[in-house]
């Protein structure tokens, strides 16, 4: 026995340390259970298609003969796929090797013998917890049509529809919302059951012996109760005796109460959870974005910045600890969350990879203390993300630098510089301002030199910008990170360089097309 135990423990350690095994397990876990995994949606779509094709075949064969291939497909192929899925889910639901290792370590620590029986019980308990979960039961029932010779089991194909709950997120949201009112629904169920039971028995007692009454059996009495209590009232089975009609009146009144209670339960469950649902939907949308600007604090300058970024079709997310400001951001058409920008938890909730998905964090509270705190919080999570921050009081500049801000934005300095240029070159300043304004047809653009552009246009001379009525102000060289004004015709271009061009936006677009065009020069 000891030898067997040792063998089992060694095997558990082997599995736990095996990269290939763990990779496969992680892959299947992601595919089956991880909503963030990019390939899961394709798997879910395939399963949904299988479910619908299975149900379609079932409906079709009610009135018409179905080809044997389709029957085999429905009964065996789909069932087999579902069986594989079921077994994979059972596998990834809990780790057997982990339980064995934990128990071995525990026994080692306390100097006890490894208890195989205890471990087996623990493993079975964990597996059965999964097997007996509602979703796993539905999965199992969906495999039943495999035994299609048993005619009754064919109806289990319909259980495959319930599997949709697994694959469609909205169904999961629906059930999770209703789950919050579990106690109320149980109470309602108890009340409705009692009313149905009492009314069925009462109507049976009152009507069963009346020769004119259609209610002859307890089943008919039960059917009548359900139809009446649900306020449907088909009229095919009705009470005819005075006593029976009195029971009907009481049941109808009780039915109204049941119906009202049910409706209000649904409504209140959704009303209470609406904000949470919206928030989780917002977070889901944010986490899908590849490059977002995260604005921390939504005050005057932030409003203008967000408006301009939105106009330029960038993804902007606002977080602010003031509910009022978050509401303002939402009214302005932004994605906004009532999170504290100074809390690490806020960024964890956002569920985004800051290094990859965030273009820049903009600390735009008009309060240096809040901006320093936000910048430090962000820096403590991620050392690379680009942080810009407003500075309200020049005395706090060093504090922002120490908190890890990459670019400090001091509005007083901007005003000073604008004034400087305006007193020096008012006409030129106005002209440049006009060029930079969004309403002007003349744009200033940066055109990145790609390998494709470089293959056809290795030097400035080849660009033909004047033909496109474009002014080439200069080239920003990647290699030296320097700007070269008015480059000579023989200036060689490199991948990663930027052309700084000025011209009518339509001509710039044409020029860009001309540069990126695949054909020969």
């Amino acid at each position: 026995m000891k030898f067997f135990n040792r063998l089992l423990i060694d095997f558990a350690y082997y599995l736990q340390n095996s990269v290939a095994y763990q990779q496969k397990r992680r892959f299947f876990y992601n595919l089956l259970e991880n909503d963030e995994y990019k390939y899961k949606k394709y798997f879910d779509i395939c399963m949904i298609i299988l479910i619908f094709s299975s149900v379609s075949i079932l409906i079709y064969e009610v009135k018409k003969d179905v080809h044997d291939y389709l029957n085999i497909f429905n009964s065996y192929v789909i069932s087999f796929i579902f069986l594989i899925e079921y077994l994979l889910r059972l596998w990834v639901a809990s780790s057997v090797s982990k339980v064995i290792i934990n128990q071995d370590e525990y026994s080692d620590l306390l100097g006890r013998e490894f208890d195989l029986w205890f471990v087996t019980k623990k493993i079975l308990k964990e597996k059965f917890e999964y097997i007996l979960s509602p979703k796993a039961i539905i999965d199992l029932l969906a495999i039943m049509p495999f035994f299609h010779e048993l005619r009754l089991l064919r109806i289990f194909i319909l259980f495959r529809v319930f599997k949709l709950f697994r694959y469609a997120k909205s169904f999961q949201t629906f059930s999770s919302v209703l789950a919050t009112k579990k106690f109320e629904f149980v109470t309602l169920g108890m009340f409705a059951s009692i009313v149905i039971f009492v009314s069925s028995v009462l109507i049976y007692v009152m009507e069963a012996n009346d020769p004119n009454s259609p209610i002859k059996t307890l089943y008919e009495a039960f059917y009548w109760s359900i139809v009446t209590i649900s306020t449907v009232g088909y009229g095919d089975v009705v009470a005819v005796s005075k006593e029976g009609q009195f029971v009907a009146v009481v049941v109808i009144l009780a039915g109204i109460a049941v119906l009202a209670f049910t409706t209000s339960l649904f409504v209140s469950a959704f009303t209470e959870k609406l904000d949470d649902i919206k928030e989780s939907k917002t977070i889901q949308d944010i986490s899908k974005n590849k490059r977002v600007y995260l604005i921390c604090g939504y005050e005057n300058i932030a409003k203008e910045v967000a408006k301009k970024l939105l106009l330029a079709k960038f993804h902007v997310v606002v977080i602010d600890d003031s509910l009022q400001r978050v509401e303002d951001a939402k009214k302005d058409g932004l994605t906004a969350l009532n999170y504290n920008p100074g809390s690490i938890e806020s960024y964890a909730k956002l569920n985004i990879d800051m290094s990859v998905q965030v273009k820049a964090i903009l600390c735009l509270r008009e309060d240096d203390v809040a901006n320093v705190y936000t910048a430090l919080t962000v820096r403590s999570i991620n050392t690379d993300v680009f942080i810009m921050s407003l500075l309200m009081n020049s005395k706090n500049r060093n504090k922002l630098i120490y908190s890890g801000v990459n670019e400090i934005l001091y509005d007083k300095e901007f005003v000073g510089l604008v004034a400087r240029e305006y007193v020096g070159q008012p006409v030129a300043f106005e002209a440049i301002h006009t060029l930079r304004s969004e309403t002007s047809a003349i744009h200033m653009e940066e055109i990145a030199i790609t390998e494709r552009i470089l293959a056809k246009y290795p030097t400035v001379e080849k660009l033909e910008n004047i033909k496109y009525r474009i002014v080439l102000l200069g080239v920003h060289k990647k290699s030296s990170s320097k700007f070269f004004f008015n480059p000579s015709d023989d200036t060689e271009l490199e991948t990663g360089d930027f052309l700084l061009v000025i011209g009518n936006y339509m001509f710039i677009r044409e020029f860009n097309k001309h540069l990126s065009h695949k054909g020969e020069v």
Partner: protein, 233 residues
């Protein structure tokens, strides 16, 4: 003798930044404060500080400064006071250049109505610079260097006096960047309307005396070019 000066109303961080930045152009820079409390001794050499009241009649300014050549900045933090100050100064000095700071576009309109020649809306200006930094970082860096910093590259407005030099040529037909190592961006006509160098209108416009070119280039090249077109102010 009266002197031209930069008169900055508002002893606050905006006023001080303006004072620092206009010092290169005006020998006399005075910052006016509403209160005589808490004057900092920093930058005492850059500007003078005087106390004022918004209900002043400005007679002392008239007697001390050449107001037509002076520039006035209204930079009070209280918007209502700033508008009142602008109206008050405009009524006293019809010909002066008055630049006013506004918190936002709404206040900017009121300041224009109050007589400001130019309004700098703080929020919009700051937001514009931030957005430019994010959208077009390289352009912003280059323009910032050209416009605001002491780089060799400069932007100049050059008035054409020596029109004969160009003969009967259209601006778009001249290879400015090759011939003079300057790039002409805009042509500003007599009516002060500006046109892009390659716009259809400029393509059919003969260079005339009084036209202003907005040119970018190195300091020496611009000087030479100015000499050629007869703008030797």
């Amino acid at each position: 003798m009266k002197k031209a000066a930069a008169l900055i109303f508002g002893y606050n961080e905006y006023g001080i930044e303006i004072a620092k930045n206009v010092k290169y152009k005006y020998e006399n820079v005075t910052v006016f404060s509403l209160s005589d409390m808490g004057f900092s001794i920093e930058n005492k050499d850059d500007y003078d500080i005087e106390k004022f009241d918004v209900s002043d009649d400005w007679e002392h300014l008239k007697s001390e400064y050449e107001m037509q050549d002076s520039i006035i900045f209204c930079a009070l933090r209280d918007e209502a006071e700033n508008i009142f100050l602008t109206i008050s100064l405009r009524s006293a000095f019809q010909e002066s250049m008055i630049i006013a700071l506004a918190n936002n576009n709404e206040d900017a309109n009121k300041l224009r109505m109050a007589g400001a020649s130019k309004v700098i809306p703080i929020v919009e200006t700051t937001a514009g610079i931030i957005t430019d930094m994010l959208k077009k970082p390289i352009i912003t860096e280059v323009l910032h260097g050209i416009l605001y910093e002491n780089s060799n590259l400069e932007i100049e407005q050059i008035t054409v006096h020596n029109v004969e030099y160009f003969g009967e040529k259209f601006p778009a037909d001249i290879e400015w960047h090759k011939e003079y190592n300057v790039i002409i961006l805009l042509v500003i006509h007599e009516d002060m309307s500006s046109e892009f160098i390659y716009s259809s209108k400029t393509k059919h416009h003969y260079i005339k005396k009084g036209d202003i070119f907005v040119a970018v280039g190195y300091e020496n090249d611009l000087k030479k070019f100015k000499k050629l077109v007869g703008d030797e102010r």
